[in-house]
Amino acid sequence: MMQWETVIGLEVHVQLATRSKIFSGASTAFGAEPNSQACAVDLGMPGVLPVLNESAVAMAVQFGLGIDAEIPEVSIFDRKNYFYPDLPKGYQTSQMYHPIVGPGEVEITLDDGETKRIRVHHAHLEEDAGKSLHEDFHGMTGVDLNRAGTPLLEIVSEPDMRSAKEAAAYLKAIHSIVTYLGISDGNMAEGSMRCDVNVSVRPKGQEAFGTRAEIKNVNSFRFVERAIAFEVERQVELLEDGGKVVQETRLYDPDADETRSMRTKEEANDYRYFPCPDLLPVVLDDAYVDHLRTSLPELPAEKRARFQSELGLSAYDAGVLSATRAMADFFEGVKDVCGDAKLAANWVQGEFAGRLNKEGLDIASSPVSATQLGELVARVKDETINGKAAKQVFAALWDGEGDSADAIIEAKGLKQVTDTGAIEAMIDQVIADSPVQVAQYRDAEPDKRGKMIGYFVGQVMKASRGTANPQQVNGLLKEKLDALC
């Protein structure tokens, strides 16, 4: 049986979070009335001239710096010529030969904690096209050009990925970098980040690449894995049956979970690239690039490393807590207030993330702030409350029953009882009320008694309404029960 190796390269299109378009002053806001944000430049009216948006340039360079890429001094816009109704000019302004970002690298983390470096060939600026709506308009196609001219950064990887999981991890890493930098909202559902996947297979050990298929329309992390899994199986089956893979563009259909040939016309695309005469070469001097470099925020890979080395978190915790900037900022907020990184990590990933997940909320819409959670965790740390009470306080904070952990602890009387006398009194009462269980305990083999003590602990905790210190209850109960034996 032949062993096959999968080879994957990704082209990721990221919509940059500028206010206006890349070459015009029309708004890029999502969800506006059709064609209400398409100006004369976007429509390709005669006589208009594009003027490049400085934020689009800065964002592209920030991305380049974020992946340790070369930033060439000169980059040049070219025209990619083709006809389609959602491209009114008849060409897309792009960068074919001199992209704004040169070769760089992205580190990905796999499930087993292993890391791998994926090379980025380059990233270039270009404009997005409009949208064609193929619903029935009396046999016509409807065109909305609001998206036309939205700045895109196309990030082209080298064919360095060897599995669907690696491809998904790479896409997540790109998503993480662009959202950390704040250069895109990264919203895949709204199309702010889109992905084309190049997939081929080759016999294991063979140097030469196999013929690749390009899969379009892969617009979620999950679909990337599924589309690749399907495509690899299709290609391997084809080759093992003596067939050949055709170089072509295929479309991923998430409903059918398959890729289908787009039946491109006989003629290969001939885009006739040439330098755009309307745009001059973009020249970025060292001072400009250095200025952007110094204002770069801490990026996910650096944060993950710092969470491990400085805060002593596990690789897993550091990975989860640095995955998005919102998560990392929230965690650091909690940690700064409570002063204990490990406790903060447990609470953010446990109770907090669990509740967000359950309610389908993101961090930005959490009713509990990082400061509020930090104050709660501080009370766990200084043993004002025990773990059980802390969960009650958290639920109360979430439901808006109080502004701070301290206020809720006070109002609900959840302060942990550590007074030995008070706990002993409760224990004596429980023992007096449970003659049957005490008799069973006394008659049990000594090595079985450990398990039986649970009943008494539960009763005492109940009597204290959850506020007794569980360790103390355990210790004192054991002493008192064993004295009866």
Binding site: T18, R19, S20, S24, G25, A26, S27, E33, P34, N35, S36, Q37, A38, C39, A40, L43, V51, L52, N53, E54, S55, A56, V57, I76, N81, F83, Y84, P85, G90, H98, S132, L133, H134, F137, G139, M140, T141, G142, V143, D144, L145, L251, M262, D270, R272, P275, P277, L279, L280, P281, V282, V283
Partner: protein
């Protein structure tokens, strides 16, 4: 480099220009002469000369990222042969 009529028809198709066969023959001659001039230029030794992206010795000015355009849909769509619900309508594009 001599062009054939089908080269001209192909270039015309890519540019979505309709040519009849007489036109095509005429363009074969015109374009061939233009390409001959290009061949002459190609013969110049340009080793060590950086390709020129633009004839002007100037660099691209950038504009501030501000929304300066207002909604002119009404006026633009007066030019369009067919619109509906704010959309431009075009002959059906089948993928």
């Amino acid at each position: 480099m001599a062009l054939e009529p089908q080269d001209v028809q192909r270039a015309a198709h890519l540019a979505r220009l309709g040519l009849d066969d007489n036109d095509a023959d005429r363009y074969v001659d015109d374009l061939t002469r233009i390409l001959e001039m290009a061949d002459q230029l190609q013969a110049v030794d340009t080793d060590g000369v950086a390709p020129l992206a633009h004839p002007l010795d100037a660099t691209q000015r950038l504009r501030a990222d501000e929304v300066t355009e207002t909604d002119q849909r009404e006026r633009f769509q007066r030019n369009a042969p067919a619109v509906e619900n704010g959309l431009y309508l075009v002959p059906r594009v089948v993928e």
